[in-house]
């Protein structure tokens, strides 16, 4: 973008119209002169009129351009340099894409090695008066001296965290806005098409990409263990592949059990039946034959194995009875006394409000005697919608009782809400529902998800297993309320229930509530990392208007181009001089009709 030292001088640009105006004024009523030899003039003008007319217009144009050039020169214009040899003190955010795809082997070395070399060369051109930041896939912009950042670049390794380049550019822009120096953003990347996203920016962006094409790649996109918990008889795992065309042999193993193998096509999925296991938590691992990108060749899923719940329910409760029949027929529950569904029993109980409001007081007293931290409160008849969460979607709630905590610490047991108010809570071995499972209270019994909701309530929630979550490294995973810790092997993170947890790497994580394991978190690579196809320059320039795409080798030269500005005053004055000379030549003998 050009800028001007004295922009107010540009108000003189209309002066360029002066030659035309003078020309039009002079054209009016020329004097008449008697001249007998007009016949010679007619003869001459017929031969030269076109050339003379062209010359007149050319003269007008040259005079207008001359004025324009002088006015622009007086305004003190300057323009950014395409390649800066030296630069004024600047602010630079160096974005190095060390996402999993940067670990792909190209020409015998990881792609990240090329990016590191380019980062070195960019940082070598910095000066002590520059402000520098390094932004990598962890999303944190680290400020430092050139030496600090060189050391940081040297220690960079491909991580499991996906890097959204649009977010990175946005973050870099936010950082640069805090500095008064002219800023620019340099992105060193393999430029995966899947990593691009729109990014509004007001700083020059230079995208330096690798020249070599990306190798073909197939990666594991998903490992799905289906409905949980598994019974001790075993279960099935679905493994999906993504990437370029072809097939790959996939192997799936659970714990120490035998591996199951099959050929799976890229873009397709394979189903693997796994044998029985003793109750507990199991890690199911899937792997495929290695290729140039190793990090997407393995994935995992957490599986909970437990015997199906033995449930007692009121056969007179129409909707509860119907769903229990379905679950029983599909082997997801048995009749028994382990769990009381609908009313408060001696053991695990899922309690709904009684039909008769007069019985509510008695129920609350029984709950209090059981040590429950929640009780039923007032009846709410204003229609509402349940808040979408891990347990429920957005269900219509016509009537409900408020659920009231008896102690402040009980608030951690909320499993579902309506308009922010507790609707399903767990306290000890009791789960309270604010509404009866009847269409006159909630639309849930009539929805398709009622069966899975009841399955989760009976087999997981009531038994203390709150959630089986999945995510990718670095993603924000929302934890259930009761979770107090996250554990992976010996490593343990103290967390706040209801808050987000960012798993640092791929692997199996267990969600703990005190000393109880209440859930699991399977963290696998983002499947978008397996698509190595790069974006085109047009795509980049469309998404990031005004950006410039160069090869990695050109990055150092282009890095500070935004800060290097050249004055256009000299060239404009030379142009004005040239125009003046041409004007004089045309207006005098050179342009005369001969």
């Amino acid at each position: 973008m050009s800028s001007f030292l004295h922009p107010w001088v540009l108000l003189g640009l209309p002066l360029a119209a002066v030659p035309l105006i003078l020309h039009l004024i002079q054209r009016r009523d020329p004097p008449t002169v008697e001249f007998p030899a007009v016949r010679y003039l007619v003869q001459v003008t017929q031969e030269h009129q076109r050339r003379l007319r062209l010359r007149h217009w050319l003269l007008l144009l040259i005079r207008a351009l001359l004025i324009l050039a002088l006015v622009l020169a007086a305004a003190g214009p300057s323009a950014p340099l395409r390649e800066a040899v030296s630069h004024t003190p600047s602010a630079l955010v160096l974005v190095v894409d060390n996402s999993p795809s940067s670990g792909v082997i190209v020409a015998g070395a990881p792609r990240l090695a090329q990016l590191r070399t380019a980062a070195h060369r960019v940082l070598e051109r910095t000066t002590p008066s520059d402000a520098l930041w390094l932004l990598t896939s962890d999303g944190v912009a680290r400020r430092g001296t050139p030496a600090d950042l060189l050391a940081a670049v040297d220690s960079l390794q491909p991580t499991g965290r996906r890097m959204d380049l649009g977010e990175a550019v946005t973050t870099a822009g936010d950082v640069l806005r805090s500095d008064s120096r002219p800023g620019s953003i340099v992105v060193l990347t393999d430029l995966q098409a899947t990593a691009l996203s729109p990014a509004p920016h007001d700083f020059p962006v230079v995208v330096a990409r690798a020249a070599e094409p990306a190798p073909p790649n197939i990666g594991l996109a998903r490992v799905d263990a289906g409905a949980q918990p598994w019974t001790p008889e075993g279960g099935a795992v679905t493994v999906a592949l993504t990437g370029d065309s072809g097939t790959a042999p996939v192997s799936v193993v659970s714990g120490d059990g035998p591996a199951r193998q099959a050929l799976v096509a890229a873009g397709g999925a394979g189903r693997f039946e796994l044998g029985g296991a003793v109750p507990g938590w199991w890690v199911v691992r899937a792997s495929k034959a290695p290729d140039e990108l190793r990090s997407d060749d393995e994935a995992l899923a957490l599986v909970r194995v437990a015997p199906v719940a033995r449930v007692a329910w009121d056969p007179g409760d129409r909707y509860v009875s119907a769903v229990c029949d379905v679950l029983e027929s599909s082997g997801r529950l048995r009749r028994g006394a382990e769990l009381n569904l609908g009313s408060l029993g001696p053991g695990l109980s899922i309690v709904v409000p009684p039909v008769d409001p007069a019985a509510l007081g008695s129920l609350n007293r029984q709950l209090e005697r059981r040590g429950a931290a929640w009780r039923f409160g007032a009846l709410v008849t204003a229609p509402g919608v349940s808040d979408s969460g891990a347990l429920t979607g957005r269900e219509q709630v016509v009537r409900r009782y408020t659920l009231e905590p008896l102690r402040p610490s009980a608030a951690a047991g909320v499993l579902a809400t309506v308009g922010g108010a507790p609707w399903v809570v767990r306290t000890g071995d009791v789960v309270l529902l604010g509404s009866r499972l009847d269409p006159s209270w909630t639309g849930l019994p009539l929805s398709a998800r009622f069966v899975s909701f009841m399955d989760a309530m009976i087999n997981r929630i009531a038994r203390g297993q709150l959630a089986l979550l999945s995510g990718a490294p670095g993603d924000a995973v929302l934890l259930p309320d009761l979770v107090t810790d996250v554990a992976q092997g010996e490593h343990r993170w103290v967390v706040e229930g209801g808050a987000a947890f960012h798993p640092p790497a791929a692997g199996a994580y267990f969600l703990l509530s005190g000393s109880d394991t209440v859930g699991g978190l399977s963290v696998n690579l983002d499947p978008r990392e397996s698509a190595l196809a790069p974006a085109s320059e047009d795509q980049v320039e469309t998404l990031w208007e005004g950006s410039r795409v160069v090869r990695l080798g050109q990055a150092p030269g282009a890095a500070f181009a935004g800060a290097g500005r050249a004055s256009l005053q000299g060239p404009l004055l030379w142009l004005a001089l040239l125009l003046a000379l041409v004007e004089v030549a045309l207006a005098s003998g050179l342009g005369r009709a001969r």
Binding site: Q26, F35, V38, Q43, E47, R592
Partner: protein, 307 residues
Amino acid sequence: MTAPAASSRPRLDLLDPRQAAHLAGLELLTEGVVEGFLTGLHRSPRRGFSVEFAEHRMYQPGDELRYVDWKLLGRKDRLYVKQYEEETNLRAMLVTDVSRSMAWSGDAETVLSKLDYVQRLAAALALLLIRQRDAVGLIAFDETVRSVVPARARPAQWHQLLATLNALTPGKGTAAEPALRRVVDLLRRRGLVIFISDLLLDRETALLALKFLRHRGHQVIVLHVMDPAELELGGPAEARFEDPETRQGVTLRPKDWVDAYRETVLGVVKAWRRACRASGMQYHQITTDTPFGLALRRVVGGASGQT
């Protein structure tokens, strides 16, 4: 040996035409011009005709030495030159353009109009011819034949011609053909036709008529009289230039067209000269700031074989 003193009277034939016109009226001017011209000429303007010795006169500066009578110098120790008198009965007709364009002058303060110039030049030519005892007549024309004076050799003829020339006023358009046809009626024998015009006329038609005269055996001299301002284009920065005869006009900036115009005019002159020469006619281009003596010298010199 001492040369005789030169006359102290101004040589009207060598003065600027405008200045000369201020000094004397048409008659006196013409006589002065011819006197001066003959004084400097010393030989027959028509050397091609038979000539015989007439008299001696005193040498004057400018006389050619080959006419000095060396024998007389030996006897009397004084310089005399020999003068010759032609033996002729030539009939000449002056055909003069008096159209509106002839009344134009580029600068009336310093230059005579073409018509004024032509009046004086024609009178001088007539006097010169009459003094050689040739018969001289006059036809003035614009779109039509305006005045006709048949050719006569008597001395009173010159005064009649002067009166006719004096009475000429600018006419309208220009058409030379009727005047040149009239010449055929008036010159039965072979004679001399001097066609004086600014030649702003239909060239092909005029040339055809002139060639016809030449075909009839007449000697034809074409005098192309031009104002200096017609050779070099000038004027305001931008102007509409209008033909006083046809009112045809063209608007332009003179400084843009100076060179092209000059080339065109020179081309026209060249075309006239080439056409006349091809038909055995003499052509002389004279500007109105040319002293009459020089103009006469060119015409007379041309008539005697010099062009």
